[in-house]
Point group: C2
Chain length 201, copies 2
């Protein structure tokens, strides 16, 4: 018996296009018969390695203006809630550490969707501990112990290593979907990545 | 009787993803019942206005490595010939001036495809007058008179104005597809742009 095809979903909670991909990934992977592995990471260090000290959507205003319009159109097309965030990018560090703690747990997918939707669908500050605690509690998860675990040295190191691995594997943005050695960048490559994983190229 | 829906295809002969969109645009527009208007322009001045003095795929090596792999995969998916160019970006100025002269003529679509395929499918130097002359001749077009027209002051001004208009209209890359006031960026937005034009959103 061969193992089922697997893809890795590399995402960042502050990333706009990661929102669209994270909201769609689980259902799309299930429909394709593909196992999804969640890989939260931080874009900040990746962008710094490219010479950007902010989101390229802020550094290059025409790209930013386009991205927000494109986001609104795509969210409508997918039926995903969208609310222009009053702050961009938000600080996704705490959420990413929690996600790193739980990235192989059953709750990672609903947690990732809830944080993403808080940021891009409800204009909530996901950098605040109380917002993440509220999200965890609504998912019937032990908020305090998970947040404490996310504050531990081990969780900090785990996220740092995962972010270093992102750069090593050639990532330069998010979302990125990795299938074996093949890198697919962007929400609009999710279907191509799943097709690659199942050999329907 | 209402006029048929129309989209503008803004492209640059040196742009890799423009190759994929230019090769697909006419058939896709015809299938959608949409009139296609071709708008050649130069990315160089647009990139300069963003602070880039070269293709971002050269300035940011991880983006460049990914783009070439993505191009190869997508060309195979679409059944479009692909050969890694030995020079990138090539000088698309002369081809763009010829295309600007003929942008509302029946030969613009086959001319655009032939130049694009020479660059990205056959590794030919589209900056050379002889290459463009050969392409025009194979299309049964009067190569010398079109190349002379492209060298005229009027043609230079027309391309310069069109490139200025690109920036004014918010373009920051190619291909870009414009539907009324809606901007769609990238080969992977071609279908969305056509759907927008026909009201099937």
């Amino acid at each position: 018996m061969t193992p089922p095809p697997t893809v890795e979903m590399w995402f960042e909670f502050a990333s706009s296009y990661s929102y669209l991909a994270v909201m769609r990934a689980e259902a799309a992977a299930r429909a394709a018969g593909v196992v999804l592995r969640w890989r939260p990471f931080l874009l900040g260090p990746v962008f710094l390695s490219l010479g950007w000290n902010d989101s390229p959507f802020n550094i290059y205003p025409p790209k930013g203006r386009y991205m927000w319009r494109d986001m609104a159109r795509l969210a409508e097309k997918y039926g995903i809630p969208f609310h222009l965030p009053s702050q961009f990018p938000r600080n996704g560090l705490r959420a990413a550490r929690v996600a790193c703690v739980g990235q192989d747990e059953a709750w990672i997918a609903p947690f990732a969707r809830a944080v993403m939707q808080a940021n891009f669908g409800e204009d909530r500050d996901i950098g605040e501990r109380a917002v993440i605690a509220d999200i965890l509690t609504r998912l019937d998860l032990p908020a305090d112990s998970l947040l404490d675990a996310a504050d531990s040295e081990a969780a900090k190191i785990a996220l740092r290593r995962q972010t270093e691995q992102a750069t090593t594997r050639g990532l330069f943005g998010a979302p990125s979907i990795i299938v074996g050695d093949e890198l697919f960048w962007g929400n609009d490559r999710l279907e191509d990545a799943l097709a690659w994983a199942t050999g329907r190229r």
